[in-house]
Point group: C2
Chain length 443, copies 2
């Protein structure tokens, strides 16, 4: 069933609008431009849109419709959903808002009405009150944002579920901007039918998905959530909103559901090896490093740096996070000394000093990468020194789990120009924190 | 005395090199291009550099020299420093490295030798082992990085001292990139003479400086530091390196000085109202908001958002940091309701919903800015919605302390295109954390 949401052969956009800027217009345009399948625009006003024949109702479409995207005024949703039922459409995404999230009696009643209709026809629903769904594999961009406003990520191994539309939009954009690929994304809003547990269950089985990520405000079915998390074998990163009294008050204005007892969930998450992101930055940082697909077998971190001060900050933070920063053995120190100038430090951080060039980095990293004394490596690079060039990142070849820290205008330019997918962080502490996640992944 | 370091009439660059890429070449070029004063290149090889007459020794310069920048091999430093003494130069910045920071006997002895020379001539020293000093007011860019590698900030109200050269370079670049102005910056390396306390003391009196920031690894004179901090009336942001056993091991390889008992200092810092930045990101974020020059008189935060999910994250974080998020009074709620659609929330966060336009933001913010129920405001803007434009930031006019959170490619474009100086943050949590700093500033 869930597969039909992400891999439909044909999609109807109910409320495909003639007016630029309208939600139904943008979704239809995104699908028309990208989706590798049939797209039917539905609108009682039947003038063609982008030269495409418009159907007054989904009932007028001749072929099968695997997925309907509803983007009409809330009050019309019951009518068009009923028509979906009659057309035997089994999968519907309701983008429209104006339901229980408004807190109004009318909204709550309307939501109950569409629940009843869906039930009577056996329709599965994502939404209402969502920004849509996205699948990079087949161009299913059923979101109501154009590329000019929100960048869409390239094909990748992360699948993302989110209760909040904002988080969905911004995750797409930031991941695209940071060149982190995405397999699938779903925004599920009020979750009158399918919810976080269903998506985790599906992503756990989905071949394209290697990392599961999500933003949850309220848990709809705690027992099922625990059950699907227990069965899942893939890394799961969760950002939980509504963890505090302030946050839950904010959620109740937002998707009108209780935020749940956070501490209870947080403990369960820990037991189930869920990686909890504390902040928005954490979420993106963790996805950045997990998308590389490595895992550390221990907490022993080796730091290589040409920038003393950043080595110090990274070391302090490694201590704070409970990582180990072992000093190299005498044997290893000797090996390193052979290729380092006398004023370099072979302790950990291994400070290869400000005059380090590409060759010195490569040689030191080769030795450390082969060594059994470290489980993961942090490479700090002050790219602003005259002895270093972009070439370092082109030739960099590390087998251990690693992260890179480089900062500044020049670092950003280099990062943008790289074809290679590298876990680059713009602060020493964030580079360390990401590595900690790799050291805590379950087997 | 310190004023002559930052406001010399004439500067000699000892070791001004003919070779591009050499430290002495770059410093001379930076000064020649930017410094509003006389610059004398000194080099035994007397072919002109950039058409400028080169003096074989500082003793050959006819006029007075207020400041000498030494960028020669460590072994030659005693000789040229002696010449500075004979020339009656009282202020010297020693860029050269190769002293006690190497840990070598030779380096330690050389350092003692230059200390003795300086003492016998009454020369005050910054360094050795520094990236130099910088004053945006008179173009004194005596750092060895060209603009193509490291951006230099525009004139501003922050003055920065740093033991670590890396931190100095990257602070200049990041602050420039983020359009945050800098008054003065000094990297003081091994601090054989002037140290953090001297710079704090000077910046506390310097008219251009409104905010003092610094990176310290080791404290040279604890009593003096406490004394100057106690007398200072300006906000001080400190990032301390070597807080942990890992970090102090890293510093000892770096500037060869004990990191000190961090907890002792941390407690003293708190008592003296020093704002401690825990991470590199914190440091930049705090400077971003402090540079605006506002101060909150309490902890009552009002959040306005068109993006529910980010409102939730900001609220949770405000709770975590001990800020208050009061619900508006009934009277205030009524005022807000008049200009908001029925499905908006007048609780706090005030969720003005995804269809908010510039006008709605402006009206709501005007009401909140006038209200006595909040001490500061957080404005979260999902700029990706079709109803919003860049105009919002042009017309934004808030009198209370505030921060803005906007995220994504479009947010970055808008931020870059704004002439106005706004405290914009790319994560809801960081926007909240910065406001907390404003709520803790001493009167």
């Amino acid at each position: 069933m869930m597969k039909s949401f992400f891999y439909p052969k044909s999609v109807a956009v109910i409320g495909a609008s003639h007016e630029e800027g309208k939600i139904g217009h943008v979704i239809f345009r995104n699908l028309l431009e990208k989706f590798r399948g049939k797209v039917y625009p539905i609108n009682p006003k039947t003038e063609p849109i982008f030269g495409q024949k418009v159907y007054p109702s989904i009932l007028d479409v001749k072929g099968d419709v695997d997925l309907a995207i509803i983007a009409v005024n809330a009050s019309i949703v019951p009518k068009v959903l009923e028509e979906c039922g009659k057309k035997n459409v089994k999968n519907v995404v309701i983008i429209s808002s104006g339901f229980s999230e408004t807190g109004s009696q009318k909204g709550i009643e309307l939501e109950q009405e569409i629940k009843n209709i869906a039930k009577s026809y056996g329709i599965r629903i994502i939404g209402p009150n969502t920004i849509g769904i996205f699948n990079s594999e087949n161009g299913l961009d059923a979101t109501f944002f154009l590329e000019k406003d929100v960048k869409k990520p390239k094909d990748g191994n992360i699948s993302f579920f989110t209760q909040s539309g904002t988080i969905g939009i911004l995750a797409l954009d930031i991941l695209a901007k940071e060149n982190i690929g995405v397999a699938k994304l779903v925004s599920y809003g009020n979750a009158i039918d399918l919810n976080e547990s269903d998506f985790i269950e599906y992503f756990a089985k989905d071949e394209k998905t290697k990392i599961i990520a999500g933003f949850i405000e309220s848990v709809r079915n705690g027992r099922k959530l625990i059950d699907v998390l227990r069965k899942n074998k893939k890394p799961v990163v969760l950002l939980k909103g509504g963890k505090t009294v302030f946050g839950s008050r904010a959620t109740s204005s937002h998707t009108s559901s209780l935020a749940g007892d956070y501490k209870v969930y947080s403990n369960i998450f820990k037991q189930l090896n869920v990686i909890e992101a504390e902040t928005w930055d954490d979420l993106i940082d963790y996805l950045r490093i997990l998308s590389i697909g490595r895992k550390a077998n221990g907490k022993r971190l080796g730091i290589v740096t040409n920038a003393g001060g950043f080595g110090v900050l990274a070391s302090d933070y490694a201590f704070k996070l409970g990582l180990e920063l072992p000093e190299p053995s005498e044997k290893l120190k000797k090996k390193l000394s052979k290729i380092l100038p006398s004023y370099a430090s072979t302790k950990n951080p291994i400070d290869i000093t400000a005059d380090a060039d590409v060759d010195r980095y490569v040689k030191v990293l080769r030795i450390l990468d082969k060594s059994k004394e470290f489980d993961m490596l942090l490479v700090i690079v002050l790219v602003q020194t005259p002895t270093l060039t972009k070439e370092l990142f082109e030739v960099l070849n590390i087998n251990k789990p690693f992260s890179i820290c480089m900062v500044g205008t020049k670092a950003e330019e280099i990062k943008k120009s790289l074809d290679k997918k590298l876990p680059i962080f713009e602060s020493p502490e964030r580079a360390v924190k990401a590595l900690k996640v790799l050291s805590e992944l379950k087997a």
